[in-house]
């Protein structure tokens, strides 16, 4: 048992941190206000290899592991949660589906450009009427000679505004319920595939998150992942892994807000002394840091279990459940420490507080996490 990062992991962490501080920090507030992701920044992140961390060199990846990826998620999300989710959806939902379930041809054609930094991927599962109940899919796919013809619509598809490759879930056999769902790789620009405008949101506002309309989209049948009816399994597997990334994102948001607060309380003077001199401040910060550390350890444990090919779905659910709660508690606590300035947009903690909320919702709500955890306990 060893809680220490290796030299390579430390070097990576330092690299992620420096990138986030120099490249993302100056843009975060502006991107949030404009509700638009800076594509130049996206390009820089691609160039640094942030979009292919846990994938094999064989397909243009970095040959890293899940831990290296969660370190990235934390460091990037410390500064900007929107940048974090952009990496996360691409990496742990879109790419992992193709990596884990794609054929060699599919990997060469679609996975390589995704992980070597040329293309961006997204993952279209949620529908207006199928959220936590992902089995209630209404988008349909009908085989027509060499093509499946897809019809329907998806919502909350992160990265869809600039994605090149979509993994889309659709029902090929209505009668079979979740066993009738299939997964397709669809390229942007395919006729009939249209992406709406960015959905106005409370937080992670600069991430791209749009409605995707699917109108007679003809997808070559070789673009189906695995076989008909295996889509639901693919989605669940991707989401299991994704939750570790969201856990890391939550830790990052919390730590980022706390770092801001620690700096602020030393500078801000009230009643003739820095507010850090007040015991309430010290105690609050101590409590928050303790919670963050606990969450971080849970995230690392889940990441290690995944890397060691052990059962990790309950560990992933627990780390996300706990870390997302910590992110919300801590950001709220930090805004409170800042007082009025925390509520002002001049400081980033209000943004972090808004960003934190989504971590309790996406890639499975906290309630879904509890169902998974309870399920693993056979109750």
């Amino acid at each position: 048992m060893d809680f220490n990062l290796s030299n390579t992991q430390k070097l990576l962490q330092d690299f992620y941190r420096r990138f986030a501080e120099t490249e993302i920090k100056p843009l975060a507030r502006k991107m949030d206000e404009e509700e638009k992701f800076d594509l130049e920044l996206l390009g820089k992140m691609q160039k640094c290899g942030f979009f292919g961390i846990p994938y094999s060199k064989e397909y243009g990846g970095a040959d890293g592991d899940t831990l290296a990826y969660v370190l990235c998620m934390e460091e990037i999300s410390k500064i900007d949660a929107s940048s974090g989710i952009t990496i996360s959806v691409h990496t742990s939902l879109c790419c992992s589906s193709i990596n884990d379930f794609g054929t060699e041809e599919q990997k060469q054609k679609f996975l390589r450009p995704l992980i070597d930094g040329r293309k961006i991927g997204c993952f279209s599962l949620t529908e207006p009427n199928a959220g936590s109940d992902a089995g209630g899919q209404q988008t349909s796919a009908v085989l027509d000679e060499d093509y499946y013809v897809l019809n329907g619509s998806k919502v909350f598809t992160t990265n869809s505004g600039f994605a090149d490759i979509f993994v889309i879930f659709a029902v090929t056999d209505k009668a079979s319920g979740t066993d009738g769902i299939s997964a397709f790789i669809v390229e942007a620009g395919t006729p009939g595939l249209s992406v709406g405008s960015n959905m106005p949101r409370m937080g992670i506002r600069s991430a791209s998150n749009c409605e995707v309309a699917i109108d007679n989209v003809r997808v070559p049948k070789e673009n189906m992942l695995r076989k008909e009816g295996e889509g639901f399994e693919i989605a669940l597997k991707a989401l299991d892994g994704g939750r570790i990334g969201i856990g890391a994102q939550s830790v990052g948001i919390a730590q980022g807000a706390l770092n801001e607060a620690i700096q602020y309380v030393k500078e801000r003077k009230q009643f003739g002394r820095p507010i850090s001199a007040f015991q309430n401040t010290k105690f609050k910060i101590a409590e928050m840091q303790t919670k963050i550390d606990a969450a971080r350890l849970m995230v690392w444990r889940a990441a290690l279990a995944k890397d060691e090919k052990k059962e990790y779905n309950a560990l992933a659910a627990m780390c996300k459940l706990f870390a997302s709660e910590v992110a919300n508690d801590v950001t709220r606590g930090c805004v409170q420490l800042f007082g009025g300035y925390g509520y002002s947009r001049e400081y980033p903690v209000e943004r972090m507080m808004r960003d934190a909320k989504i971590t309790e919702i996406y890639e499975g709500t906290s309630e879904v996490m509890k169902m998974i955890i309870a399920g693993s306990l056979k109750i």
Binding site: N7, T8, K10, L11, L12, D14, F15, R18, F19, T22, K44, K47, C48, G49, F50, G52, I53, K57, G61, A62, D63, G64, A68, C72
Partner: protein, 265 residues
């Protein structure tokens, strides 16, 4: 062609703060980085490598074992090999002794071009580069902002910075340059590069490896002509002076007196 880049791992002095109570330097938790001018040297060396056939870039650092991290980072940036020069006997070296030891290591490795950063942000001496060149008996140009290999590939064309001018110069190999970190876009590692570096081994030189080239009287504490007698932190800032009700001329006097006192301008 073989390019050697000398590099130092330094504490990020922009993060160094003083303990307000004890007025001593807080060194704990300060991250170590590759000295910025040295990093510029590495980047320039890598850029040059891409233009010349059969060219390699080797980083050499003298320091404690933990400096291996900095060498790893340089390898992650794309350097072909890295050497750590480290020995108890080298401890306490001033710039002259350090340059003597590094010169021996560089000689051992072999070179056509040596690049060092202009100065390290912890010591700010800017001395080791020119001193190495002198020990090796090769010409050097310091404060180099840009350089490129000339058409015949037997010399470099460099831009040497002064306060008020530049010299565009031609310097033949073998030679040494001291590089200034530019104001350009910072170059980042890649995740894959970090994993590549993980596979490369950092080579080590200790006293035994270099002793045939070293005079014991010229290294370490004993071989250092300069000694730090004492060091102290600067006086803490205290409550400033607030002047009210002055005429403009009195205000100007007060400001000028303060500028003068601080030897500013």
């Amino acid at each position: 062609m073989k390019i050697l880049v000398c590099m130092k791992q330094v504490p990020d002095t922009s993060e160094v703060t003083l303990d307000p109570v004890t007025n001593t330097l807080i060194r704990k938790g300060i991250r170590s980085i590759i000295n910025p001018d040295d990093k510029a040297g590495i980047e320039a060396a890598l850029a040059l490598r891409d233009k010349i056939e059969d060219c390699t870039v080797t980083v050499v650092s003298m320091g404690p074992q933990q400096a291996e991290m900095a060498i790893k980072e340089a390898l992650a940036m794309g350097c072909d090999e890295g050497y750590l020069v480290s020995d108890r006997k080298f401890g306490g070296s001033d710039t002259l002794a350090t340059s003597t030891i590094l010169a021996a290591a560089l000689k051992k490795i072999g070179y056509d071009l040596i690049i060092t950063g202009r100065q390290a942000i912890d010591g700010d001496t800017a001395q080791v580069g020119p001193q190495i060149a002198e020990h090796l008996g090769i010409p050097h140009v310091s404060y180099v902002e840009e350089f490129d290999v000339d058409d015949e590939e037997d010399a470099l064309i460099v831009l040497r910075q002064f306060e008020d001018r530049y010299h565009k110069m031609r310097i033949k190999f073998p030679c040494l340059l001291t590089a200034i970190s530019g104001y350009g876009e910072p170059k980042y590692l890649t995740v894959a590069g970090v994993y590549e570096a993980d596979k490369k081994e950092v080579k080590h030189f200790n006293y035994e490896d270099l002793k045939d080239l070293l005079d014991d009287g010229c290294i370490g504490l004993k071989g250092s002509p300069t000694k730090v007698v004492k060091s102290y932190t600067k006086e803490q800032k205290t409550q400033g002076t607030l002047l009210k009700g002055l005429t403009s001329n009195e205000a100007v006097e007060a400001i000028m007196a303060r500028l003068n006192e601080g030897h500013i301008l």
